[in-house]
Symmetry: C2
Subunit: 416 residues, 2 copies
Amino acid sequence: MAVSEMEIGKWSVVAGGVVAARGFQVAGVRCGIKRKRRDICLLVCEDGEATAAGVFTTNVVRAPCVDWSESRLAAKGTAKAIVVNAGNANAGNGYPGEHDNTQMAQWAANALRVPVDLILTASTGVIGTPLPMAIIASGITDAADHLGNSPEAATEAAEAILTTDTFTKEYAVRFPLPESGAVVTVGGMSKGSGMIAPNMATMLGFITTDVAMASDALRSALVAATAVSFNCLTVDGDTSTNDSCFLLASGAAGNVAIGDTDSADYQAFADALTHVCIHLAKEIARDGEGATKLVTVRVTGTATTEDARKVAKTIAESPLVKTALFGNDPNWGRILAAAGRAGVRFDPKKATAYLAGTCIFAHGTPTKFDAPAVSKAMAVKELTIHVDLGTGDAEARFYTCDFSYDYVRINAEYHT
Amino acid sequence: MAVSEMEIGKWSVVAGGVVAARGFQVAGVRCGIKRKRRDICLLVCEDGEATAAGVFTTNVVRAPCVDWSESRLAAKGTAKAIVVNAGNANAGNGYPGEHDNTQMAQWAANALRVPVDLILTASTGVIGTPLPMAIIASGITDAADHLGNSPEAATEAAEAILTTDTFTKEYAVRFPLPESGAVVTVGGMSKGSGMIAPNMATMLGFITTDVAMASDALRSALVAATAVSFNCLTVDGDTSTNDSCFLLASGAAGNVAIGDTDSADYQAFADALTHVCIHLAKEIARDGEGATKLVTVRVTGTATTEDARKVAKTIAESPLVKTALFGNDPNWGRILAAAGRAGVRFDPKKATAYLAGTCIFAHGTPTKFDAPAVSKAMAVKELTIHVDLGTGDAEARFYTCDFSYDYVRINAEYHT
């Protein structure tokens, strides 16, 4: 992300990522879990506790950090800080793993002099290997000594949460609330790159804002935003044991706390949060393992949003569609066949499909499109597949990447 | 398949594939749709009509042959013959495609001098290209002139239904019915190799038997057999516009027609049919595009068969599991994580996983297995992943293959 300010529609894009919003400090340090990169991140609310919400993996195989953070948030709805380590997911480690996670939270609580129940945890990396607790202890102390709110601190933190990602993922926007007039910032960082695997992925998102908002409203906004962003993201269809997305609100913007989810201020905040989450999710797809391009699958013309989502997801996850995207093959047959097996009834004779802007299928049959020209239009870093099923007004988008030789190499050559 | 007889449990494996059962003739000829291989198959019941059943793709994008054959079977439950072409799926061709399919059936009906409603059709190959009707007409005439019931004729027919498959898939077994004592044969042929795609796949199965059986009972047996065979098969999760499996019964075994699905004779037939279908389905997975090994995913210890099926399917379709299999990586984390996202609740602490016979996960954590030894045990043509969830008595199996560089090459380098 460029760090200069620019206007995108109703929002100004600003520098500072996860500390662009007022009231937060962050540090990203290296304790030695990873070979070269920073691997411990501490994100802290400066004054008192932040209102906090989280969404977590639906996988029944869950790491202790997921259980810990979800139950803390359910009990309190506020948090002082999040401690994150990268390089070791602390998953599949049985009861000792649960103990280590609590110990990690306790060390962060000690460093910040707050009760342990105010600390959230996140881990990502190798599964089934015990956390190297001694270096994590010194890493947490080190991070607490280096907290700051500069854009550099934010980028160091964004590096400290990565695993096989090839670049950091940060974004922030600023906008005035339409009713109260207070200027609010929403920003964050994410990591992804592949999926669950013994030395890799997990999707993590950390969003901060200075808006003042009631706990329930904050949670509603996060659930809605993740439903159309991180939950519409697929690199290979595998959810992780550790997937988590957190939202902390400091209240430093000074507005009267928003509680009414029907208010214009709530809607403006929810829109900005959704925009930030979609941006951070797309960055994950762009950085998918072996990815050569970011692909948006847009499905329109269904009876319900859920129908559109199912069809978009099935297309976005199809290995045949993804290998065709890698090969710049305008393969309408694979797209339609994937749509057809999504579990949604439709009449192929009413379906239309567009690839990189060209109509390739209409009225139950392929159009006479210029295949070499469409193939050339596909040889880009970012493109859209649009399928309209012609049966309603609902729509949805999914974000994915192509399937390359490198995907197979990365995932076949690595050994547990 | 070896053509020699051998005993497998209660069945004798016999030569002759789709004409091993008495009462059928078949031909496989080349009319020129494919560059080199035979591409027209005609399978005929010798005397009168066969009792017939079929199961068809659940994809809402269906080729005209699927609609034609399904509605003929629903109306009559009998058939004289099946005409098959390979190299062109006649899908995505709009109304002209429907006309061409009917014309193909009519030509077969003319050659056999029977009403067109007694002819079933199947097509596989390129989507969105009109059928080359002139050569198909001559191909059907040619096939009708070369009908026979030798093992050679069966193998020629098994070749004539292939697309990108690298070998023919035939199998047949013979056994006595326990009650009536009549000796019955069940045999058939299949093709698959990949999935739907503009120049490839589609799963097709053609099974014949000489048993005499009521139409409803025959259909029940086929639905049950496909549920645990062809419907438990995944190469890449993509169903086709043309997937079909047919079962024709000539009645030439001379038994009193089986109508009672609770009878021992019915059960013996259903068991043999299931055995044949599983064999033919496994051959498809073994010949999956780019496959280097056939993998059986066995899931036990669930509350219901449906739960076991869901978990087995999710593991069998996971690109991460499939690339690990290609790389001979004993990656228990990917297997467990795939199980965890299948939509079935279970306690990971009760789960156990075995890879190529070695226990790699138990009590919520990996075992201290010898990774190089397990990796070596994975470097074979055929292996099993067994996951036990420890919560019930139900189980299911899925058949799949690994994901290799060649899978990406075959599917990315081909251009529509």
